[in-house]
């Protein structure tokens, strides 16, 4: 059997293992025992998580062997690795705090990231000259690990907010929390809609002008927003409803904008159906699950994961990044959008750590910051890569 098959099977296995593990973590809620003595379901859940992680490691190693370079060179590979880093960070944090509930939230987030990753092209791609360096895996894996650990602070911050925000009274906090949860639905919506149209092999080609060149782009979702000044080539297929505004930057802006629209639609539909079935806000549904977790402990785990993740992120995202940039381009810092957003992330967490010096910023405010911080990381990953043009736009 060839390596690539083993690799994708292993990734699939990891995903399934994480899924089953999540259910077992869910079962720990009903465990009446105290924090110190772990029930059997927590043990099973953790074993499954570790197995899942090992399976993903198999994916990583076999894919590396198959392609000859570290599989962190495009969107699919990087996001998959980020999911893996999040699970690793979870395992580390769990081994210290033994908080099963964390698994119930961290694993689904990791799964959403991995599912999101697999919507990008998954073929092995050869490396362009600028990426041919050992620093590719040194830099990228360290960044991903840092982001994974910071991701745990997001997960815990979110848990804190779900637990602490009063769902019985109308408030700004309640709406914003619901909005954050809604965004997770949009990601799921993206996965669902992409998978659906991929299954039926939908394809619509457009011709459009970019600067002085004429380019062709292929839509795999029906075009709601066509490319700016584009013409549909494929026949007998839905005409776009409107054109993408010209100020969208980056290559293939129209197709990406169209994907965003579809994700919003699909996410909203799934969200509304869920709401109709549950007849409650999502936050209110999850809240009772967190009844037995101490808010204090959540606050501490959130802070510690930032404290642990921040140095790792600095090392990978700024220092290793600079060293590589110096070797590849002869300048260690160039104010490329990706670099700037790494700096913004760093500024943000630096501000977070300083704010934690004052007691007034513990608890809810700090949880909001942890959520926003991960928002910045995802922004850098998704929007900066796909929308703002720059040296890092691989996908």
């Amino acid at each position: 059997m060839d390596l690539l098959n083993i690799s994708s099977t292993a990734l699939y296995a990891a995903f399934v293992l994480y899924l089953i593990a999540t259910f077992f973590f869910g079962a720990t809620i009903r465990d009446k025992r105290t924090d110190n003595k772990k029930g059997i379901s927590a043990k099973i859940a953790m074993t499954l998580t570790v197995l899942g992680f090992l399976a993903q490691l198999v994916y990583f190693i076999t894919r590396w062997m198959a392609s000859g370079h570290a599989p962190v060179s495009n969107m699919f590979e990087f996001l998959t690795f980020l999911g893996m880093a999040l699970v690793l960070a979870f395992i580390i944090i769990y081994s210290y705090y033994k908080l099963s509930f964390l698994g119930l939230f961290a694993l689904p987030i990791a799964m959403i990231i991995i599912a999101y990753a697999s919507m990008f092209p998954t073929e092995l791609a050869p490396l362009v000259p600028s990426l041919q360096s050992h620093w590719l895996y040194i830099h990228v894996t360290t960044v991903a690990l840092g982001q994974g650990i910071l991701g745990i602070s997001f997960v815990v911050g979110l848990m804190y907010l779900i637990k602490q925000i009063d769902q019985t009274v109308k408030s700004k906090q309640r709406s914003w929390l619901e909005f954050v949860l809604y965004l997770l639905f949009v990601l799921i919506g993206f996965v669902v809609i992409t998978t659906t149209f991929n299954a039926v092999n939908y394809n619509a080609s457009f011709e459009y002008q970019s600067g002085t060149e004429t380019l062709v782009t292929e839509y795999h979702l029906p075009a709601i927003a066509g490319p700016n000044q584009g013409t549909l080539i494929t026949e007998d297929i839905m005409e776009p409803w409107f054109e993408t505004p010209s100020w969208f930057q980056g290559g293939d802006a129209g197709r990406k904008f169209n994907t965003v629209i579809w994700s919003l639609i699909a996410g909203s539909v799934i969200y509304l159906i869920t709401r109709l079935i549950l007849r409650k806000r999502i936050g209110a549904v999850i809240q009772p699950l967190l009844k037995n977790v101490k808010a204090d402990l959540l606050d501490e785990i959130e802070y510690r994961s930032v404290a642990i993740g921040f140095p790792v992120f600095t090392l990978g995202g700024l220092i290793f990044a600079s060293i590589w940039a110096e070797i590849a381009w002869g300048r260690f810092w160039g104010w490329d959008p990706k670099e700037v957003w790494a700096l913004i992330t760093w500024f943000f967490y630096a501000a977070y750590l300083h704010l934690r010096l004052s007691r007034g910023w513990h608890g809810e405010k700090s949880a909001w910051l942890a959520v926003i911080g991960f928002g910045i990381i995802m922004f850098n990953l998704i929007v900066v890569n796909l929308v703002l043009a720059g040296l890092h736009s691989y996908a």
Partner: protein, 549 residues
């Protein structure tokens, strides 16, 4: 300077909040750390006297107080963060895409992004990161770093050195972790101490008062990492001077030897060959991706020889002595004598020269009557040919295109798409025939030419774009970054834990504990330490309130 004597006998500097020795809150100073209305003491800087909180008379005091405020520091960080974000809304000037219709920033931003683009350009945001106000912001952060650190480090260092195991009761009971036990045996005390030592606490005793401490060095982490950041900012200043940093871009044609700029003519470079390789389309691993995305480059490489110029006689042609011969690739720059050369760009297939022949217009065999070669980089204007023909190069367009008015023009000065207007004087003739010639074009303007010019042969070459630089500030950035990492790890991955135990003569015991982070770990430590003894577990006096029941 007025000093404050505590009832324990220790003399504290003015502005002290908690006695350096026994920790007793000093009356009249509690507002400084906001302790007055709180049950728990603010232990952030151990209640030391900080200059910023003590003096505010002169303007120096006020400036000091301003910059030593963490709040101000955070605001500066937030401002730098927002400014950085703004800089990514539209591309910075240096990242205006090469294929943009007009790369002049005055035109580009408005043309591409409309009114917001125009405003962006007029506010100077297209060069945001080198603007004076962004520099000022970074400098202010630097000042804040220095003052914040000095303001806190010095008193904290003294206080931690002066601390005594014997603490005042009000200090102990107002710690976040605290417990009272009615009676504890000597044996229990020994167990606790043994366990503390086993967990690598350093124990100091004074008349039955115990201070167990570990990881104090982690308290210096923030100051160490701030030193690293300051070194990085200083390195950035050094880098802005030509002594530390030089960066030039040179284009070298294959076969050419060029002088390297900014070296006073000391170094020359020869481009032997430029090589562009692509990934094999038949490589089974990547076939699918290449089919979808097109051909992918696998290597950009320039084979070069670097020469050092010897000038025994000033002004004379230098003797070139080869000092390095190597291939420069992406990710593999060439280093020599403190300089570096990077593969940064290329131009394929420029024309080096073209050979033309003259034949009779009516001759279907196009037999050459005469031929001549034009050096496209340095064309001669007139050619006297042996057969008696005379050719004048009337117009030369190295990179021919028709401009907006339909007039022939040259887009660049590089011979990528050369076109010519020749005046051909047949033998013994004073009147010329005009021929327009380019690649795929051969136009006889009048239609009455007796002779025609055709391209007989040509030679081509590639051009390598190389970044030539030195950056002597790099070691300083390296040292700064290393110190930052050491500091940040020291501060984040270790914690300063302290445990105070006070046993009275009647056997009753007070226990209090403090850490700068990771309370969970400290509680775990205490649980283990008091195991199998009568000592009560500490209660956490500051749990975040549970909002929802």
């Amino acid at each position: 300077m007025k000093e404050i004597k505590c009832e324990c006998g220790h003399v504290n500097p003015l502005g002290t909040v908690l006695c350096e020795s026994c920790g007793k809150p000093i009356e009249g100073n509690q507002h400084i750390d906001g302790n007055d209305d709180e049950k728990l003491l603010n232990m952030r800087y151990d209640g030391t006297a900080r200059r910023s909180k003590t003096y505010n008379k002169s303007w120096i005091d006020r400036v000091w107080s301003f910059f030593s405020s963490v709040k101000v520091g955070i605001w500066l960080i937030v401002l730098a963060l927002v400014a950085s974000m703004i800089g990514t809304i539209f591309p910075q000037e240096m990242y205006i895409p090469a294929n943009a219709p007009n790369r002049d920033p005055a035109v580009f931003y408005e043309e591409q992004y409309g009114i917001p683009g125009l405003i962006y350009f007029q506010l100077g945001f297209h060069n945001l990161y080198s603007s004076w106000w962004f520099m000022v912001l970074i400098a202010l952060i630097g000042i804040s770093l220095v003052i914040c650190s000095l303001d806190r480090f010095v008193p904290l260092f003294k206080a931690l050195r002066n601390q005594k195991p014997k603490k005042h009761k009000s200090f102990l009971s107002r710690q976040r972790l605290f417990s009272e036990t009615d009676f504890v045996t000597d044996h229990d005390m020994e167990t606790v101490k043994k366990q503390l030592r086993k967990r690598r606490y350093k124990i100091t005793e004074e008349n039955g008062h115990i201070l167990a401490e570990k990881g104090r060095f982690s308290r210096w982490g923030p100051y160490v990492n701030h030193i690293g950041l300051i070194i990085i900012l200083l390195a950035a200043i050094l880098r802005s001077t030509p002594l530390f940093y030089m960066n030039e871009y040179v284009w070298v044609r294959e076969g050419d030897i060029e002088v390297l700029p900014e070296t006073n003519g000391e170094y020359y470079i020869e481009n032997k060959d430029f090589i562009l390789e692509t990934h094999d389309e038949n490589d089974e691993r990547f076939r699918e991706a290449i089919t979808q995305e097109g051909v992918v480059a696998s290597n950009f490489q320039t084979d070069v020889i670097v020469y050092k110029a010897n000038r025994p006689i000033p002004g004379a042609e230098p003797e070139l002595e080869p000092i390095a011969e190597d291939s420069i690739r992406m990710n593999q720059p060439l280093e020599f004598d403190g300089y570096e050369l990077y593969q940064s760009g290329y131009q394929l297939n420029e024309f080096s020269n073209m050979t033309f022949k003259i034949h009779e217009t009516t001759d279907s065999d196009e037999e050459a009557l005469a031929s001549f070669t034009v050096d496209l980089r340095n064309p001669e204007s007139e050619f006297e040919l042996e057969s008696g023909f005379r050719v004048v190069l009337d117009q030369y367009y190295p990179d021919y295109y028709l401009d907006d008015d339909g007039e022939p023009a040259s887009e660049t000065n590089f011979p990528r798409n050369p076109a010519f207007v020749f005046l051909v004087y047949p033998p013994n003739s004073e009147s010329a025939e005009v021929s327009f010639l380019g690649i795929g074009r051969n136009i006889d303007a009048t239609g009455e030419n007796e002779y025609k010019i055709g391209i007989q042969d040509f030679e081509m070459h590639d051009v390598s774009g190389l970044t030539f630089k030195y950056d002597r500030s790099l070691p300083f950035f390296g040292i700064g970054a290393a110190i930052f990492m050491i500091g940040v790890i020291q501060g984040m991955y270790w914690q300063h834990r302290r445990l105070w135990i006070q046993r009275k003569k009647d056997g009753s015991l007070l226990m209090a504990a403090h850490t700068n982070k990771n309370w969970f770990g400290l509680k775990k430590d205490i649980e283990i330490v008091i195991e199998n003894t009568n000592v009560n577990m500490v209660t956490d006096q500051q749990e975040l309130e549970e909002k929802v029941e």
